[in-house]
Amino acid sequence: MARLFKPCRPLVKMEGKRVAALEGGRVSEELLPLFQSPVPSPDTPLDELEILALDFETSGFDPCRDSILSAGMVEISRRTLRLSTSEHFYFAAPWSVNARAAVVNHITPETLTDGVSFEQGVGRLMKRMAGKIVVVHGSAIEQGFLRQALGIPQDGFLPVVWLDTLMLERSLSSNRGNTEKDYRLSEIRKKKGLPAYLAHNSLADSIASGELFLVLVREIFAHAQPTLGPLYRRSLSGRP
């Protein structure tokens, strides 16, 4: 009965699970950084949050078989993308590069040998993500590969707030009754009048989705103060 009167509040629920996990001592030492900051409440103004736009280049789509080749990220604060906070690194794992991914991403085993070790890479990712909202385009890939990298099951709990620009765009489109659409990052950007991105590297892509995020926030909230709750709800459901 109680559920009828209590709205579905995924952020509040996530915070509850985070606290419980910490108290229950079920969080491993490595995962601790991601558990330490509280999950922001739904009414937190976006301008008060630290946001990280993130993108992985991977060798395929299956987190179990394929691996992360490179990661690119940039921070957003006060609705400004700050390239001075951008970071990009390759994972040193030359054996996992297959020919198809190399063609798409222009990553060859040679470039990967200059990269960081797997442990270093994951460590840096955790450090950058801790306490931040994460923005990605099509978050399934990043979520899946991150879980795999952290050694937790695909349905395991992580107190990370993912905002998916693809879902946010879909939430606006279904508003307009248009469901048959091209949701590729480049296509959506084109539609929004954002400049075309030339390269396929994870840093350029993280910036591209970060910029798109700025546009979507303005479109979703118009002149109202943007808060986290509505964004997260749309990001999960793809609906307004």
Partner: protein, 625 residues
């Protein structure tokens, strides 16, 4: 390692910076580093960029979209499109932002934060000058192009710099033999005959052959008997090419050079002309050797090619105008010589005057003609007919040679502009005392007045009379100012449009009417206020600065604006010449480079600011209905 764009992880931003003035001048490493420091901001149509995002923020670049700047009184400051920059003028301000920024369309902005820009400015003088905050300084650095130091530039250096200072001088009663001995001793091909500081005449080695040896003249006779009297001289500050022109015009092989009242040397033809491969010198040389209008007309194409070459070599626009004026003068004078040869002796003394750009030494390839005749006395119909035919010979001859007839008929062929000195004086008096609309048109052309040919003293008296009328004439200055201020420069350029003060978008702007003329007019007004007799715009501005009518800083930025506007104008004229199209002064912003657009905008601001200052200074508000 060679750094290339492909290696940049931020190719989008890197590429954008690479085609944005002034960052295109940075090395690829610097540009890539800069790309990594950019902040990206998004405005939706109608969004305002809050003042705290502008004040002390740094430099904004419009990546896509468009914004509008408005002053605090809500008047339009500028519209900015992709590639345009703003914010650097507010970088050092703390309290109040001088303008607001509103998005006209959805807009993506790149910001180079203040500290990054400061560091960049410290390390790169070109970036520093660009963002100095003053338009004039910015223009100055744009004008630091490589000045051609080839032969063309050599001919623009002052005579005094290259003249041989060894001079053979004798008194008039010296014997011819001793004068020849003096020439040998000083190793000169000519000797000056002087009485104290006064130059009486010149004797060249050719004179010695022609007038002494060939006719068996007694070499003990005084040298004054064989000298060429009242020789043509030149000031040591004059450019070499003018020396060439004088030698051609008067068919002499040596020119005594004077520094104030003292002889500073003698220029000789041999070294200057015969071996010259400089087009302009060659052309002037040819002009004076032609004996008919038909023959002169053949040189028209050469004149165009001189202009093209000068613009191409990146010579200072001032020098280009000087060269082109000397060529125009040579055409005019040669036609006058030929006219006199055809028509016979003139019935009275007269002076051929030039007005407008030719008087200001500001001729370009497409200048039309403004001229007139000052007669020494009142003439009867038959005598008048002589000057009518002379004027027609010269003006139509000039037209044949590519100097278009003045559409307003301000030419010697107009009977009104071929009158005795006192009639000219009456004109000026009425123009200056009762400056009606028509009078203002005339006065703007004829206040720029220079003697070209004939009896110079006629023009000197005229000029002296005119300066009496204008001296301390506040009302006249107010009227000239108000008249000039009827035209304003554009606010700037927005995409393919010209942005007018009232916010209207126009597709072209007239670089002569809306920019250059305004500078010329302001300079004329300031020079009058300084009671200066300077005629060319540069000289006028300098004299105004010397008289403290304008500040040195203001003078400097006006000169930079003048040079830049002429650069743009000339390079477009050159393009028209190459395409074989007729060059007009209408420019389409779409055809300008981003560099030209940005710097023209700076020039416009300088003009607008100076107009505002002139309005205040000369109480010009409400003077004209």
């Amino acid at each position: 390692m060679e750094y290339s764009m492909d290696q940049s992880l931020l190719p989008n931003i890197f590429n954008f910076l690479s085609c944005t003035d002034p960052f295109d001048t940075l090395s690829t490493e610097e540009r890539d580093k800069l790309a990594g420091s950019v902040d990206i901001h998004y405005l939706m149509q109608g969004d305002r960029l809050e003042a705290d995002r502008i004040l002390g923020a740094g430099l904004y670049m419009v990546r896509v979209g468009a914004v509008e700047q408005r002053h605090q009184d809500d008047s339009l400051r500028a519209r900015l499109g992709s590639g345009d920059l703003f914010g650097h003028s507010q970088m050092a301000r703390k309290c109040e932002c001088q303008y607001s920024v509103t998005a006209l369309e959805n807009t993506l902005l790149y910001l180079i934060p203040r500290e990054v820009l400061r560091r960049l400015m410290d390390e790169n003088p070109s970036v520093r000058d660009y963002f100095d905050g003053r338009e004039g300084k910015r223009l100055a650095c744009s004008n630091q192009r490589e000045q051609a130091m080839g032969n063309d530039a050599f001919y623009l250096s002052p005579v005094g710099k290259v003249v041989n200072q060894n001079v053979a001088i004798v008194s008039p009663d010296t014997s011819i033999r001793r004068a020849a001995g003096e020439m040998l001793r000083q190793r000169r091909s000519s000797v000056l005959v002087m009485e104290g500081n006064r130059l009486l005449g010149v004797v060249t080695d050719r004179d010695m052959t022609k007038r002494v040896v060939a006719v068996g003249c007694d070499t003990e006779r005084p040298v004054s008997e064989i000298m060429t009297g009242t020789p043509v001289t030149i000031d040591c500050e004059a450019p070499l090419i003018q020396a060439v022109e004088l030698m051609m015009e008067h068919n002499v092989r040596s020119l005594p050079v004077f520094s104030e009242d003292k002889v500073a040397g003698v220029m000789t033809a041999t070294s200057l002309i015969q071996r010259s491969r400089v087009q302009a010198v060659y052309l002037i040389n040819r002009i004076y050797r032609k004996n008919s209008v038909e023959a002169l007309k053949e040189l028209t194409l050469q004149r165009q090619s001189v202009f093209e070459t000068l613009v191409e070599t990146g010579i200072h626009t001032r020098s280009i105008q000087q060269m082109m004026t000397l060529i125009a003068n040579a055409f005019s004078k040669r036609l006058l010589q030929l006219a006199e040869r055809t028509l016979g002796e003139p019935p009275c003394e007269y002076a051929w005057i030039v007005a407008g750009s030719q008087a200001r030494n500001e001729v370009h390839c497409f200048s039309d003609q403004d001229n007139g005749i000052v007669l020494a006395e009142e003439l009867d119909e038959k005598q008048k007919d002589y000057f009518r035919r002379l004027a027609e010979f010269v003006c139509y001859g000039l037209s044949e040679c590519g100097y278009k007839l003045c559409p307003a008929h301000k030419m010697a062929t107009n009977p009104g502009w071929c009158v005795p000195l006192d009639k000219w004086m009456d004109y000026y008096r009425s123009w200056i005392v009762r400056p009606e609309a028509e009078a203002l048109l005339n006065v703007n052309v004829f206040l720029d007045l220079r003697f070209l040919y004939g009896c110079e003293t006629l023009v000197t008296s005229l000029q002296e009379g005119v300066s009496e009328y204008t001296r301390n004439n506040r009302r006249f200055l107010a009227i000239l100012t108000a008249n000039s201020l009827r035209v304003n420069p554009p606010l700037g350029m927005f995409r393919q449009f010209v942005l007018a003060k009232d916010g209207a978008n126009r597709s072209v702007f007239n670089i002569k009417r809306q920019a250059l003329n305004l500078l010329v007019e302001l300079a004329r007004i300031y020079a009058l206020a300084a009671n200066s007799g300077e005629i060319d715009t540069v000289g006028r501005l300098r004299s105004a600065a010397e008289a403290r009518i304008i500040s040195v800083e203001s003078c400097k930025e006006l000169l930079e604006a003048l040079d830049f506007i002429n650069q743009v104008r000339f390079s477009h004229q050159r393009t028209a010449l190459i395409r074989g199209t007729d060059a007009n002064n209408d420019l389409e912003p779409a055809l300008l480079s981003q560099f030209e657009r940005n710097h023209l905008k700076d020039s416009f601001r300088i003009i607008a600011r100076t107009q505002e200052a002139a309005l205040q200074r000369f109480n010009a508000k409400g003077v004209l209905a």
